[in-house]
């Protein structure tokens, strides 16, 4: 039926549409800076005339949905990129710490201590019975051992810090996973009940990115609105409203493995290919551990070679040279010490090659610095260490570049998503004006209809 009442109905629809649009605009403006907030839009549609009447000449307006304006595919990429960024950023952070340990540029690092150690032997060879030279050598050796221990200790503490972070990250990951499961439940309920779940969806996609920042994941959105989350190799983390908790377990070497809480004997370290956890595990078990191995190898070769040559000489009491460095069969750098006997009495340094107190053995030990003992007979101890420092510098620079690159890829993706999902206050202002005008127009329409009715009634 067409008529004045119909005009009033249409005006009512227009009021409602403007009002809801204004509400959506206001929520957009309020959340202009909220991270993860996705711009919303009230989708208006003309009411099909068929619904009103067979031969109606007018149609009202209705709000079909409140749309979340976002790109599902960019979102997918961003979740993946979060893992890359997480991985690269943790590596960069750790590398910065490692680099601080190996800061040899100010001339008081391990390289310099080694040089001083060799020099002290040479000085002793020039005056093999000199107490000053002997004490100076014992000190230089002590400093060298301390420096090795410090370097190794710092590297080890980087490892233990990473280990602690792994535990904390697993706890954090468990939190986000169970939050995702909770949100899944609410979203499924909301969707089936026809409630607007846009804010929940925003929260969930933030959580997905956060999760991906820790560990690389795959996820699948189901028709009911839930997402299922899997590890990169397909192990379930979240399914519907339930999540699988992860845990850490001592791997027997004092470090944690990541495991499923309900299957604590099977480490899933290898299943983690990216994300902060991967970065931490990789740095702890491969990179830092590798540097530590190289440092240990260097220290061990130094200890063994010096000890072997020292044993060929004779001390000031004409004893066969004992161990210069201790302990024997040590891991290398971490527990390197000058032998207690030599620390207590530098006369026990075996500087002589014969029992007549010459300095030839000291010279022979000093000659170790020019022997190619490392890298299968290709480099000297000093070269090896310089190469290690160079390697670390290279790795740090590389990690910095990777982190910058991954971050800038993420920025590009964010910008791409932001283009679609972000709130532009300018735009919202224009919308505001538009909807305000619509509201005024609807009022005018209602007024006109009212006048028409009045006129009609006055006729009676």
């Amino acid at each position: 039926m067409s008529g004045i009442y119909q005009i009033l109905n249409t005006a009512k629809d227009a009021f409602l549409a403007s009002q809801v649009s204004m509400e959506v605009t206001s929520s957009n403006i309020a959340n202009a800076s909220t991270p993860g907030y996705v711009r919303q839009r009230a989708v208006l549609a003309a009411k099909s005339p068929g619904e009103v009447a067979e031969n109606a000449t007018q149609s009202g307006v209705e709000i079909t949905t409140i749309e979340r304006l976002y790109d599902r595919f960019i979102e997918f990429q961003m979740v993946g990129q979060s893992s890359q960024v997480g991985d690269a950023s943790i590596r960069k952070e750790t590398f910065d710490r490692v680099e601080a340990v190996f800061n040899e540029t100010d001339g008081s690092g391990l390289n310099d201590m080694m040089n001083r150690f060799w020099s002290a032997w040479e000085d002793l060879s020039a005056n093999p019975t000199g107490q000053v030279e002997r004490t100076a050598l014992a000190n230089a050796a002590g400093n060298l051992a301390t420096m090795f221990r410090e370097y190794a200790g710092e590297l080890y503490s980087v490892q233990t810090d990473l280990n602690a972070q792994i535990e904390a990250s697993v706890t954090q990951l468990n939190g986000t996973l169970s939050d995702i499961a909770d949100l899944n439940e609410k979203i499924v309920e909301g969707v089936s009940g026809g409630v607007n779940v846009n804010n929940l969806l925003d929260q969930r996609s933030e959580l997905l990115k956060k999760t991906a920042g820790l560990i690389d994941i795959q996820y699948v959105e189901e028709t009911g609105g839930a997402v299922n989350v899997f590890t990169a190799d397909g192990r379930a983390l979240v399914q519907g409203n339930s999540s699988w908790q992860l845990a850490v377990r001592d791997n027997g070497a004092g470090f944690y493995d990541v495991v499923y809480a309900d299957n604590p004997t099977v480490p899933i370290n290898d299943a983690i290919g990216s994300g902060k956890l991967s970065g931490m595990l990789g740095m702890r078990d491969t990179t830092v551990s590798g540097y530590l191995d190289e440092l240990d190898g260097l220290a061990r070769t130094l200890i063994d070679t010096v000890n072997a040559q020292h044993a060929l000489g004779y001390d000031n009491y004409r004893n066969v040279g004992g161990n210069f460095f201790e302990p024997l069969g040590s891991t290398g750098a971490r527990d390197m010490q000058v032998a207690a006997a030599i620390k207590d009495d530098p006369n026990r340094i075996a500087a002589a090659a014969t029992v007549s107190a010459d300095g030839d053995n000291a010279r022979a030990i000093c000659g170790i610095k020019d022997q190619v003992l490392m890298s299968g007979g290709l480099s000297t101890l000093g070269d090896f260490f310089a190469a290690l420092v160079g390697q670390i510098g290279q790795d740090v620079a590389e990690a910095g570049r990777t982190a910058t690159h991954e971050a800038s890829v993420m920025t590009q993706m964010t910008n791409a998503q932001e283009q679609r999902s972000g709130v532009s206050t300018d735009e919202e202002m224009m919308n505001l004006i538009k909807f305000q005008m619509g509201y005024s127009a609807a009022a005018k329409l209602a007024g006109a209809a009212d006048e028409m009715l009045q006129t009609l009634l006055d006729m009676v």
Partner: protein
């Protein structure tokens, strides 16, 4: 394509740009304050490696420089001492040449005696705590006052004569041995005077060993290295000084290293002969394979003071170890444990010094220093080569001086002339060592100058690699400063722009 620019995008971009400008700015600031391009290895990994390399090389170069200084100082002192000794030898020669009348001979003999004392003290010169002329055994004095038998120049016997034993007399004494009946030891007879030939003992047979006792613990041994036997009328003079050292081969008391596990004693076995080597040697015995009981423990023997070792000996050895097995010249150590539980431990070390006949107590080892990677230089002159008959001149300086003195005292004109000739040879040989020392010093100085140049070059490379080019950095810094200021200004301007300003 027209893109939507949202608030977040605008501000993120501004913040990113500001961060970048700040980073550049602070990195340049760090370079300016540290004056270094490389502040951490990642700034320039290759450069950082090179810097470490350069530093090590510079440290080595500085060390070589110190070595060279050390050796140079040693050589300089050696040169001075050798020159002084040369001058004193010249004076002694002078005395021999001036020997014209028997009145002056005694005075000249006294002169030679005091010159000998002076030379002795010069040959025992030290560099710091170390004896210059002891070889590598720098802890012990190379020469001592000696008791030297001097043969009369007219003697038939042409073998060596050594003094032996230890003189226990309380005053200096002059012994004279006169051969009364010709023959080899065991046949020949001799008379002995201990007052300079005034009174003589009854004739007695020279023992077959060739060693006869003079009294007060002092002995004389006639060597079997000559061609003519002792001949009647041969005269031998021995000036005995209290505390003087005899010249025959000798073996010190064996000693044990301080840290030995073995608590028993080590001594020279009675079966040891007279040391027959022609150089001073240190024999050492080291126990290996975990040690063990006396007579059973495995050991190795070294005849060069422990530098190189012989094969491991595993056979049972009773209580004695022969470290030198030349027939008649054996050196045998005897070990006695202090109780049944006293075992030899791994690395237990025993050693004994054996001295060849003569006056030298040091060894013949060189002292060397590294003057470069893989290159070494010997910087000492051993007393053995400079002052004994084992050296280049083949003249025993002290024997020549002692002989000259004795010949003067005894009016042996032939003997005096012979000794003057020997001293000339000794002097020439010492001059050669002085010249060689000079050559070594100048080569050291050349090395040192080369190192100076190398050090400068590497210093330059180091600076080029790690030091900032200040002008360049300042210019860049100014540029970054301007950029940062522009960023600030722009951020504020753009950040403020909004449609709100235009809405009524």
């Amino acid at each position: 394509m027209l893109t939507r620019i949202t608030n977040n995008m605008r501000f993120t971009t501004i913040v990113d740009n500001l961060n970048r400008a700040q980073n550049n700015y602070s990195s340049l600031m760090e370079q300016m304050s540290s004056q270094k391009k490389i502040n951490r290895p990642s700034d320039d990994p290759v450069g950082a490696t090179r810097v470490l390399d350069y530093r090590s090389v510079r440290d080595s170069v500085a060390q070589y420089g110190r070595n060279i200084d050390n050796a140079d100082a040693w050589l300089q002192l050696t040169d001075t001492k050798l020159e002084n000794i040369g001058d004193l030898i010249a004076e002694a020669r002078e005395a021999g040449v001036n020997n014209q009348s028997s009145e002056t001979a005694q005075v000249l003999a006294q002169n030679v005696g005091s010159l000998l004392e002076e030379i002795l003290s010069l040959t025992n010169s030290k560099f710091g705590d170390r004896y210059l002329f002891s070889g590598s055994a720098t802890a012990g004095a190379p020469f001592e006052r000696i008791i030297l038998p001097v043969a009369n120049s007219a003697n038939g016997f042409d073998g060596c004569v050594y003094s032996g034993g230890t003189y226990t007399g309380t005053a200096d004494k002059s012994y004279t041995v006169r051969i009364a009946g010709s023959g080899a030891p065991g046949t020949a007879t001799y008379e002995l005077s201990d007052d300079g030939g005034t009174t003589w003992s009854a004739a007695a047979t020279v023992p077959a060993s060739g060693t006869l006792s003079l009294g007060d613990g002092l002995t004389v041994r006639f060597g079997d290295d000559g061609t003519t036997d002792l001949t009647a009328g041969d005269l031998f003079y021995v000036n005995a000084y209290t505390g003087g050292r005899t010249t025959d081969a000798r073996i010190d008391t064996p000693r044990a290293a301080a840290n030995n596990g073995f608590a028993g004693t080590v001594s020279l076995d009675a079966s040891s002969g007279t040391y027959g080597g022609d150089r001073n040697r240190t024999y050492a015995v080291k126990f290996v394979s975990g040690g063990g009981a006396v007579g059973e423990a495995d050991y190795r023997v070294s005849s060069d003071g422990g530098k190189t070792w012989g094969a491991i000996q595993t056979a049972s050895w009773g209580s004695t170890i022969t470290v030198d097995n030349r027939l008649g010249h054996e050196v045998v150590l005897s070990l006695t444990s202090s109780g049944p539980a006293d075992l030899l431990a791994d690395n237990d070390l025993f050693f004994v010094n054996a001295y060849a006949p003569g006056v030298y107590s040091g060894n013949g080892e060189d002292l060397t220093i590294a003057t470069g990677r893989g290159s070494q230089m010997t910087y000492n002159v051993t007393g053995e080569e400079a002052f004994t008959d084992r050296g280049r001149g083949a003249v025993d300086l002290f024997a020549a001086l002692e002989s000259l003195k004795t010949a003067l005292e005894n009016g042996d004109r032939e003997g005096v002339n012979a000794q003057v000739d020997r001293l000339t040879t000794a002097q020439d040989s010492i001059r050669q060592y002085v010249a060689e020392g000079g050559a070594r010093r100048s080569s050291l100085n050349i090395s040192k100058e080369n190192y100076q140049v190398l050090d400068d070059k590497i210093g330059g490379l180091l600076s080029e690699t790690e030091d900032v080019d200040l002008e360049q950095v300042i210019v860049e810094f100014k540029m970054q400063e301007t950029a940062l200021q522009a960023s600030y200004a722009m951020s504020v301007q753009i950040g403020k722009l909004s449609i709100l300003d235009y809405l009524g």
